[in-house]
């Protein structure tokens, strides 16, 4: 199949979990990568090496282990800076996950009554609730880009929505429910035109597309480690250096200070200003290794692979009677997550039958309730592929859906 990663077999060998069998001895067919990606051996090994040989606290430690850990941690920052093409390593702040990165922005960007924040109806809850809470605290207004019936952003009223009172325009690059790839550079330019900050949620984009913050022209961009083959417990906030240095501190604590007295404290510059306390050291090291791994394979190649698998999956799914795919039907306009309905069977029940065959998918609202509500759907089933997904796994899914229909007697 044209477009697949050339060494797919070799790549699969990098991921130990793919050899697992599940209850009944069936092999694992992991189609839940938009939820969290699997981890290559090299990432696990980098973490073990840190824990077994170099473990120490960073920055504050003067000894050799401290120097080694600091170098590894700050080296991970360099790798992530290169991964998103940041113009300076100081623009990369390590957070706990994408959710913390978004909340950091929602807590530190100043909003007041009369201001507004514009988000979209296809956001993940992390990019919704964080701003709902911020707008409530500030008495600001939350506005929403709507969606078209085919799952794209409805930009027809964009000029009214984004106006001179807009402080923030926050949007996802790739929807985790609809798969839609949004025109992020255009949206960033719209924000810029009115003097608002643009915030890009790249949680689903970073795993599968080349991310170039300078080309996008945004002010802030976030993603999460566990979806790019890294561990949990680590996320990334990228921001323009001068903007980060203008934001007030987020959490108070060790390492974010310049000096502390009983009367008052002064704060370090970015990135340290936003990294209070002992950061996720071994997690950052794992993430640095993960983005290196992805970079080595090549994000363009991974993107092509995802689109090939997605096209194949869209065809396969639509061959099953009763299946309705949500979101764009053209693989070129979407990422590798496909949510769908199967007439007469609830997503939980679909997922259960698939699971009995070793196929892991997600069922529910995927932390995107407003997007589900927009399409009048209470919940859906989502399959999501990644660089290790094979066409045979898609075949297994399609076969499993046929089986589901017969099990629930809707065939």
């Amino acid at each position: 199949m044209e477009g697949l990663l050339p060494d797919l077999d070799v790549i699969r060998k990098d991921f130990p979990i793919l050899e697992r069998t599940l209850a009944g001895g069936v092999p694992l067919v992991y189609l839940d990568s938009a939820n969290t990606s699997q981890k290559p051996q090299v990432v696990i090994d980098s973490m073990v090496d840190q824990l077994e040989r170099h473990n120490a606290n960073i920055a504050r430690a003067m000894h050799q282990l401290g120097a080694e850990s600091t170098e590894a941690y700050e080296g991970a920052r360099d790798k992530v800076a290169a991964f998103v093409n940041a113009s300076s390593r100081n623009e990369v702040v390590f957070t706990k996950n994408a959710t913390e990165a978004l909340n950091l922005l929602a807590r530190t960007i100043e909003l007041g009554p009369g201001d507004n924040v514009v988000i979209t109806e296809m956001e993940h809850h992390s990019n919704i609730v964080s701003w709902q809470l911020a707008c409530e605290r500030a008495g600001a207004e939350l506005r929403w880009f709507g969606l078209t019936d085919d799952g794209h952003l409805d930009l027809s009223n964009a000029d009214q929505l984004v106006d001179e009172h807009t402080k923030v325009v926050a949007f996802t690059w790739v929807s985790n429910m609809l798969g839609t790839i949004n025109p992020v550079a255009d949206l960033a330019a719209r924000a810029k035109a009115v003097g608002a900050y643009s915030v890009v949620d790249a949680s689903q984009a970073a795993p599968q597309l080349p991310v170039d913050v300078q080309a996008v022209g945004c002010d802030f961009l976030v993603f999460t480690g566990h979806k790019v083959c890294g561990p949990t417990g680590i996320g990334v906030l990228w921001g323009r250096e001068e903007l980060l240095n203008e934001l007030p501190p987020f959490h108070g604590g060790g390492e974010m200070i310049e000096t502390v007295t009983m009367a008052r404290s002064t704060y370090a510059k970015a990135p340290h200003r936003f990294e209070a306390g002992t950061p996720p050291i071994v997690e950052a090291i794992g993430l640095g290794c993960a983005v290196d791994y992805l970079g080595h394979i090549g994000l363009d190649a991974i993107h092509a692979h995802e689109q090939t698998i997605t096209a194949y999956a869209l065809d396969g799914l639509q061959s099953v009677p009763g299946v309705t795919v949500l979101g764009p039907l053209d693989a070129a306009q979407r990422g590798g997550a496909i949510s769908f309905e199967l007439a007469g069977v609830h997503p939980h029940d679909i997922a259960q039958v698939l699971d009995s065959r070793g196929i892991a998918v997600r069922a529910g609202h995927h932390c995107a309730k407003p997007a589900h509500a927009r399409f009048g759907v209470q919940s859906s089933t989502r399959m999501s592929s990644y660089l290790y997904t094979t066409p045979a796994e898609i075949d297994a899914l399609v076969e499993g859906l046929h089986q589901t229909r017969s099990y629930f007697k809707v065939a």
Binding site: A23, P347, H348, D349
Partner: protein
């Protein structure tokens, strides 16, 4: 593997799912609650109507409207079969028995005398992700009943 599935999807469950008993919202009622399974979004709106009985309050009616999977739908249907017409005390005991079955990780032997069709859910206890589905309407019922009782207590009813 399909043995496993069949342990979960007992015929009784699928029957209740296809033909749920007592479904729909009805009057009169003393309390109405809305519960959600935050993970998957399944929802139930449930009403409770109590009446005075010779030995304390009785569950006169339980009516509900819900969206959800086979397990959560069938479980609401079985719940209503089990509690409607029972004294509240007794219904609470049934609730407790069902809860213990569900939280028993498949190790608890179900008591058919108490749970009737509810014993079909024994297999669900082995699927931790589905236990919440089975309990959604049961938790809603308990909540609604507690509300109805405390309301009647504050409004001076003598049912408590």
């Amino acid at each position: 593997m399909s043995t496993d599935l069949d342990a979960l999807y007992q015929e009784i469950i699928l029957d209740h799912y296809k033909n749920p008993h007592h479904k729909g919202l009805r009057d009169p009622f003393e309390s109405e609650v809305h519960h959600v399974n935050p993970t998957c979004g399944d929802e139930v709106t449930l009403r409770v109507h109590l009446a005075d009985g010779p030995r304390g309050p009785v569950v006169q009616d339980v009516s509900y409207d819900s969206v959800g999977c086979s397990i959560s739908q069938a479980s609401a249907s079985v719940l209503t079969d089990l509690v409607i017409g029972k004294p509240v005390d007794e219904a609470m005991t049934i609730h407790q028995t069902f809860l213990e079955l569900m939280q028993g990780k498949g190790q608890v032997e179900p008591d058919e005398d108490v749970l009737e069709d509810g014993i079909a859910f024994a297999g669900v206890a082995k699927f931790p992700a589905r236990v919440k589905c089975a309990l959604l309407s049961w938790m809603a019922w308990k909540d609604a009943t507690a509300q109805a009782q405390s309301d009647s207590a504050t409004t001076g009813g003598d049912t408590a």
